[in-house]
Symmetry: C2
Subunit: 374 residues, 2 copies
Amino acid sequence: MPTFRSNIVVFNLIARRAFTTTSTKNMGFVEKVRLLDYWKIQDSALQSEFPRSRLVLMVDRRLLVTKDQPDVQMVELSFDDLKQRLGEYGLQFDLSNSCLLDALSTDVDMIPLFGTSIDAADPPEDSPISKKEVLKQLGNSLGGRFTDIRMAMLTMREERQRNLLAKFQSLTKWASIYRRCPKCAAALKMRSSKSGAECVTCQRVYYPTFSPVSITLITDPTNEHALLVRHRGSAGGVFTAVAGFAHSGESMAECARREIAEEVGIEVDSIRSLDMSQPWPMPDSSLMIAHVAVAKIDQKISVCPDELETAQWFTRHQVKEALTTTLADPLLKNLPRTLDDRQTLHYIPPAGAIAHQMIRQWVDGKLENHNSRI
Amino acid sequence: MPTFRSNIVVFNLIARRAFTTTSTKNMGFVEKVRLLDYWKIQDSALQSEFPRSRLVLMVDRRLLVTKDQPDVQMVELSFDDLKQRLGEYGLQFDLSNSCLLDALSTDVDMIPLFGTSIDAADPPEDSPISKKEVLKQLGNSLGGRFTDIRMAMLTMREERQRNLLAKFQSLTKWASIYRRCPKCAAALKMRSSKSGAECVTCQRVYYPTFSPVSITLITDPTNEHALLVRHRGSAGGVFTAVAGFAHSGESMAECARREIAEEVGIEVDSIRSLDMSQPWPMPDSSLMIAHVAVAKIDQKISVCPDELETAQWFTRHQVKEALTTTLADPLLKNLPRTLDDRQTLHYIPPAGAIAHQMIRQWVDGKLENHNSRI
Ligand SMILES: [Zn+2]
Ligand SMILES: [Zn+2]
């Protein structure tokens, strides 16, 4: 089940022969998956592909996206273009600050898609131009603009774009933390792909981690009311479903049941998974897995003050209005500003969030209570 | 969403008052969950409960279970009993080699359930008695016997027992590895519960990790055939479903599709999740999430030699016979011994494995192809 074992040598010999003696053009899905697997662990093969690669970019943890609104996409650049444009601003990139995201088909073969994350130095104190202005010009010269990662996750329409961004952010953050072996404190040798790192002393291999998270839409037994919550520190007036990290030794259903008890203080009668999941990279890397649960509406709600400002039952009509508001204002530009109004349901998360999809399906009557089980 | 933030202080003050001024007797589920959460992070509170706790035990990574066959359970001991019996063998335990597993109700309040993992010193060279014999006697004196963890996971009938064992093994292994900060190499201060560790220098907090794994039963479009695989190094004649760790940036469905391509070299037309999941602690900690997928049967199978010895399509009747054999011999005592026979379908995994449940549901016609989607 773990992907890499001693016997991998055999497979690599087969793979190397396959990938060096035949063209990678017109590869099917199986070949693409195996090529990515090969690039992930073969640093020298990946290094030799790097100058032919295409790249997406973060500068100071802000993502380069197309200028179109609201349907944004990551801007993909060729290696040479990126090198030249960044060079004009005194910026550099290399394999050390890049991670492998995907394999792309060209007319003749397959090439890697990398994510490159660089930090821009502050301009000199006597500079006539601010850093913000520099980044704006750099974005322009690269055919796009820099934006907040969370906002990009919430608003990008294509699942592929969101999942690539989740991978980009997760691998970048993981690779910035895993420098030393947690067991013996020796240096870790990071793979070029950023898909693993090996201790130079004890040979233990560490992989990028992310945790399963249950996200659960709670309804009452009539299925006409939903319990939504407002997180501390989230944008005013935005309500969403209850979510939380799974703990060791829990099934996903047990995780959902515990998180609901911890966060809103109620017990649910049944929990069902929804066959929807989404990688989500902030604040920590996770894989959100959607559930529905049924709870009696007369239970006393007691929110965990560490996490939540409020949790309330809403009618399907109230939630539908918030959905409509959100769809009409996908960038949440008209968030309520007064303190009172911030505690009222105005928005749900934008369409890029799995919570949006779950709530929307419920509003549309597509999440029935049938088939529910403990 | 992350469980612990700065504002936790507020909640702790509330919690401390609640848990010290009222009896913990007759707590509901919500109170139990919040008490466990409090014990997890409050070392001093957990330390003061330790002498009142009940404990389950591993010695040399073997688990103490009841003598009954085949329905084994972990042996639960009182702190005083365990201290006395181990002491008779020159063995000790304390909080440092124990992890918090659960909260148990007594007649008057709630007490912690710990898992304690100790290593037994080898007997002196001139000892008349072998270590194996010593452990057998120790097991007897504790009212049980020591057994292999994997076999215990595969054969314990109660989900609660299996999940507690998964937690015990996962936290024990994690706590043995996470001694130094991967970012700055300073010492990590481990919580008494083993639910987290904080860097003494950079204050970064690390949590026990486990990864989502897709486990997928592949059927043909008629739903009369299933594709099962035999893992390298697994017991002879045992076939199971395709499984593999999710990678950063993948949904669970994408993970299942990629793992199937990587491991058996075929493409599937549809994937659906089954609302079944199971924590599994070996070889690495994971959360297995069950799926079904449909694939055309005429595709050429090409197994990844690193992982698998073989992958084959079987009829429902063939799988049913293997299920019957497995149920009649749940400890797999009659595994085939000749090399040829080891490559033939004789068994599926025992009832403690989620693969067993998935395959059994399919044999019984409970996994229909309806509702399938890409
Ligand atoms: Zn090491
Ligand atoms: Zn540190």
